[in-house]
């Protein structure tokens, strides 16, 4: 695995086109899914998806192969979303701020579906879609990274640039929120 990462790092340093094409194919689903959960918008997720790969091309030399490539990739994607939020001065409860530090955690209004809800239920209607939609982004993000992407706690801390204790705390609260939301059933 470490050797694979090193080879990947060398390829990225060389701006290897074939390697980039392969990586885009390989990680398209996972990156898009992560961005969709972060942005709650299909169009934005698509834009950030493309921008993320442009950044990978431009800053490939910064990847040293010490950590999983996907952790580095998600971090780039996350930083792009945060930069965009800063530029647009998006200030909302469901932004990438910690509910523990800001406003208390609240579920979205039941009769007003959010963009994520609309995106997720457009093609597939399941209880978990609605439940995820009710969870603040900050918790949804760590749940996705831990249980869908199978990243380790330290890797998640790397993606979030946050202390391990914060990651754990968000995971515990997120899991509790997910279980609670699923118990409540679809809105």
């Amino acid at each position: 695995m470490a050797d694979d990462n090193k080879a990947l790092a060398q390829g990225l340093k060389r701006h290897d086109r074939n390697l980039l094409d392969q990586l885009i194919e390989l990680y398209q689903y996972r990156l898009f899914r992560y961005l969709l959960y972060l942005t709650s918008s299909r169009e934005r997720a698509e834009d950030f998806f493309q921008e993320t790969w442009i950044r990978v091309l431009e800053r490939g030399h910064q990847y040293d192969g010490k950590y999983k490539f996907e952790a580095w990739l998600f971090r780039i994607a996350r930083n792009l979303v945060i930069d965009w939020q800063r530029q647009k001065k998006v200030q909302s409860l469901d932004a990438l701020t910690d509910p523990e530090e800001g406003a208390p955690m609240e579920f979205a209004a039941v009769n007003q579906p959010s963009p994520l809800h609309l995106v997720l239920t457009a093609e597939e209607k399941t209880g978990v879609h609605t439940s995820l939609d009710r969870i603040p982004t900050v918790y949804r993000e760590v749940l996705v990274l831990r249980f869908q992407e199978d990243l380790g706690l330290e890797e998640i801390a790397g993606v979030l640039a946050a202390p391990l204790s914060t990651v754990k705390s968000r995971l515990y609260r997120g899991l509790e929120a997910l279980r609670g939301a699923m118990q409540g059933g679809p809105a």
């Binding site: 086109r17 091309l57 399941t126 439940s131 249980f147 899991l175």
Partner: protein
């Protein structure tokens, strides 16, 4: 049953999935779950929630990878085209700095001689020498800044 036991069991149910638990904790939890239907339900709900989360399908926009690959190729081409210019710029900078260092003693004497001939105070011709020596670095810095500014504008326009 003691509430503390339920609290401990609920904590271990989450901890098992998030961080992992020791064998003794796993044994204790298993024993507790055999006797406690409430905590068993919590464990089942947690498992079901995570199972649903893991199997959640996300529809991928058609042609996303192809469009992205195309954009990345274009950007890569752009970068390759710029690379020789940048390399030339750095070579020129390096050469001018090397020449500056090599010729510094002669230029110093030249400034000293000119200063004495024209009756210019020592501080003034020394400052002139410093400025002369800094000119290549100032030009290089200006060019790099302008290039970065141009790139930023291009990126803003493409967005």
């Amino acid at each position: 049953m003691n509430k503390n036991l339920h609290d401990r069991a609920e904590k271990l149910i989450a901890q098992e999935r998030i961080e992992g638990i020791s064998q003794s904790e796993r044994d204790w939890l298993a024993a507790h779950l055999r006797e406690c239907p409430v905590c068993t339900q919590v464990a089942q709900q947690t498992t079901a929630a995570l199972h649903a989360l893991r199997g959640l399908p996300i529809p991928l926009p058609p042609g996303l990878a192809e469009r992205t690959q195309f954009r990345v190729q274009l950007r890569a081409q752009e970068m390759r085209e710029r690379e020789p210019k940048r390399r030339l710029l750095w070579i020129m900078c390096a050469m001018s700095w090397a020449l500056g260092i090599a010729t510094a003693p002669y230029v110093w004497h030249a400034f000293e001689w000119a200063g004495e001939r024209l009756g210019v105070p020592r501080l003034v011709w020394e400052m002139g020498f410093g400025l002369w020596w800094m000119i290549p670095a100032l030009i290089a810095a200006a060019v790099v800044l302008m290039e970065n500014l141009r790139l930023t504008n291009e990126n803003d326009q493409s967005e």
